[in-house]
Symmetry: C2
Subunit: 602 residues, 2 copies
Amino acid sequence: MSRKQYDVVLVSASDPHKSEYSAARWMAMEWLGGYTGEAGDMVITADHAGLWTDSRYFIQAQAELQGSGVVLHKMGEPGTLSIPEWIARHFAGRDAIRVAACGECQSVSFISELQEVLNRSFQNEDSEIILSGDVLDYLWEDRPSIPSSEIITLDEAEVGMTRQEKFAWIREFMAGQPGCDAVLLSSLDQIAWMLNVRGEDIDYNPYVISYLLVSRDRVLWFVKKDEVEEGSETEDSFALLASQGVEIFRYDSIFSELYTFAEESLQGKIYVDLNSLNAQLYATLCDAAGAENILSGASPVILKKALKNEKEIQGFRQVFFEDGIAVERFLYWLEKALAQGESVSEWDAAQKLNSLRAEIEGYRGNSFNTISAYGPGAALPHYCTPTHQAPLIRPEGLYLVDSGGQYFYGTTDITRTIPVGPCSELERKDYTLVLKAMINLSMAVFPDGTPSCQLDALARIHMWKSHRNYGHGTGHGIGFFSGVHEGPQSIRPTVSEPFRAGMVTSNEPGIYREGLHGVRHENIVLCVEDGENEFGKWLRFDTLTCCHFDTSILMTELLSAQEIQWLNAYNESVYQRLVARLEACEGEDIRSWLRHKTLPIK
Amino acid sequence: MSRKQYDVVLVSASDPHKSEYSAARWMAMEWLGGYTGEAGDMVITADHAGLWTDSRYFIQAQAELQGSGVVLHKMGEPGTLSIPEWIARHFAGRDAIRVAACGECQSVSFISELQEVLNRSFQNEDSEIILSGDVLDYLWEDRPSIPSSEIITLDEAEVGMTRQEKFAWIREFMAGQPGCDAVLLSSLDQIAWMLNVRGEDIDYNPYVISYLLVSRDRVLWFVKKDEVEEGSETEDSFALLASQGVEIFRYDSIFSELYTFAEESLQGKIYVDLNSLNAQLYATLCDAAGAENILSGASPVILKKALKNEKEIQGFRQVFFEDGIAVERFLYWLEKALAQGESVSEWDAAQKLNSLRAEIEGYRGNSFNTISAYGPGAALPHYCTPTHQAPLIRPEGLYLVDSGGQYFYGTTDITRTIPVGPCSELERKDYTLVLKAMINLSMAVFPDGTPSCQLDALARIHMWKSHRNYGHGTGHGIGFFSGVHEGPQSIRPTVSEPFRAGMVTSNEPGIYREGLHGVRHENIVLCVEDGENEFGKWLRFDTLTCCHFDTSILMTELLSAQEIQWLNAYNESVYQRLVARLEACEGEDIRSWLRHKTLPIK
């Protein structure tokens, strides 16, 4: 820093694509101070190293930073300055300062806020922010390279929309934006969708690290890292895409190619989404095309991608059948194992479930890290099951398992909480009220475009009557063989995204009691049309998940006749759909086991 | 216009205080083209006169503008340009234009948008917006003067917070705003609350047209219009306030006095709420104090005023008892009159109800224009009962009455829909589902700070299941002897205002069927605390309105046991609380009438 005359170096937990999870290359904070949280920013000066993060990560950061010398700045707590304000105060009295930031990992809004504070705080106009990708390369000797996993192309007959149809669609969008001549995409889920490609560059998310530029007559994909191996899937994929007019460029050539493109091809404005574009790329675009030629707004891919087409829905229906088989086999195995007095740890259970999913044709790994949590562990909604010395599942109380898979024909996510022995009154009541919440949302009928915060309330209302609640959202959107968390919709108290037919979303209320237990019941639901009348168009949910709910500890007196009817019909349909296949896998005994589990109540 | 070299004159339906209802002085559009809607803007050029308004007013505007030569521009419809865009296109090719606007009636955001479009559209920098209060004075010869009704002061022992306490509170707020030395208030409801004063300057809203400036050591009230009559209430009020340190100024001296204040008194910044400040005052402030000395944000009075104190709540409880007596007497009278075959029109009924309210001690007029609507009339949520040839109430179907009063100790608003004879299945089902919605919201328990859109969903959910809905919000905040519509809270699908204990709000779902009937059931509810546990603080509603719901046409099979229990308990409490007083007013017969009306069902 002193050689380069940097007063401040900024490091972010983000990757250049604002991904939910970053590849190892961008986990600079772990390298610097041991911090592995998904959100945070680090500020390094000659005499201070600080990590700024929000309340979700306070406990984790405190533990991980222990002994590193890095100071935790708790965002949102009284007295905690924002990073720009902290920098201004730290260097108060100076005429000017130089701040270096890995511009690829910073957001446009953060850099412009920082610039504004620097302009205001230092009288000399020489204060500057140096956006540079190599701040870290320079310091981090054994920095992991940019991931370069095999790239596969999807069978276009199976995804409902070909590349050419997607290009035509986005060009139609462009035609509706005055003066728009090109769209630049940097979100990895959006690029995977546009090109019908998938990779394994990031754990759990089948994305390909790349940028995509679509103009009126060209498609430029900035994706190549290493040399492409002969005979590899990547080679085939590139050849296929090239034959369809997609120009393949090196990933890191995006910066120089944008200049060439602006000079030779751009005839109007370029559309970008500032929520996902990184600051370095934005600065480059401003230089190459001129700020006046940048149109910013939400990427049209976000909503289009969320409205699943018929083929995708068909895939989802199949994948939830297969996934249900795996989870039922797991629950059957667990019950037998515990009944036989076997010692099963949370980790053992997770491994068993993973292995059953791996038997499914088209399985491409998990969609997130399996949460296998017994008793008090389940009270942490984002519990991380320890690989060593994981707690044993004892034959009493509740066990919670939240897991999902990636498949060529869909992405799954399911949570079941099951009694593994006698349960307390509190466990039974919490279990029942969470199921009541999930059922109520499942049964909802609502107008087209209903704001998602309203759906959230429908899940919570009965729980609220017993003075219970949960601190997370009720649901998140899910991609099609893509990220398990994909918007724009999510069901939360403060999100007003309008619901539309075709959206696939989780329905997962919960109740958590520190030190005691946690309950979460999660199905995935598809939003479908439910007719139209003088009051407008109507929507409802169609449940995709196919796996029974345990009824043995329900306090049925807390359920209405309609709720019981829904539950009985659901469990019966699970039995009817799965039993033959389950019997084929596991033998005769599982038939009577599932029959017993799915018998109607009351 | 040609003498003054104006190319465009802009006229707005707003008053200088962004009031919901304007006094006659600011109803320039009615004078210009006969339009009486509460929202709209008029653009006059040498060859065009146009009215811009939104879909709520299309039908009304079309009817009222008939033959006036004024063209209706339907905002929000495809192809309709905004006013700035229309002006830019109308004068395309010109180097510069001059736009005159009554700056007092324009919003800061509109004028800045217009300025931006002018700058962009005309190359010559001489284009200008002349903000002037006298554009209309000049043209409108018999323009009504600024209202100057009697000003009264409230008994400070009865409103729970004295002026001095309110001044101390707002100065505490100022201390929390860096550099803030003064707050300027221009919303009439906020000023009435701050000074514990009321007037009758605007129909239904007991406000005093004025501005209020509170600094660290001064309180300046810009209020005087005519000479104050000797011995008048206004004289007493001014004397009282002056004795408490309030400096009384002429209303129209605000502009010049702001310069004096900025020069002599202001030691820092001045806080304003741009949502209510008019463009002329903002421009004056920029000149007087400098734009850098203006702090803008939501006025702190809005929320403070909405959180009713103990005294106000006590007043509300009393006023809803008295108001309930009037409405029950009205319902009793109507039933008897119709049973005796009397001819009762919607207008007659409204007059009867108004006269019964007028008997209440402390009555200060209605809080809005009584909606008295029979059959198809009730299908219009904002039906205006005709004064002449009003439809007769016939002995079949549904009659709806939505009304409220202003009283020294509170403001009321109540809707009852009653069967005045045999009803159809559809009327019965709609009636029942609306009541079910109202009851569900009444019974809700929810976390402190729940976004209001979630409460809205609780009212609608069961109605949605039958594919029914309504196009208006479920509830609005209510002032204490103040406006019947006062925020910040309102219960709507898209409003996320957090609910807090102390808020008084309406609960008024409905179902409307064009040409047939309308149903709305409205109670006023107070948000109260409901304990605290590990999940946080809890709230619920306490119903203030005291008037029975007719149960004779209910489809009880559509109600849950809990809903029936709520309804029976409510009707019983109405009987218990009101019957003695009703009997004293009307004689013995009303006792058995109300007993019969409030008998428990099922």
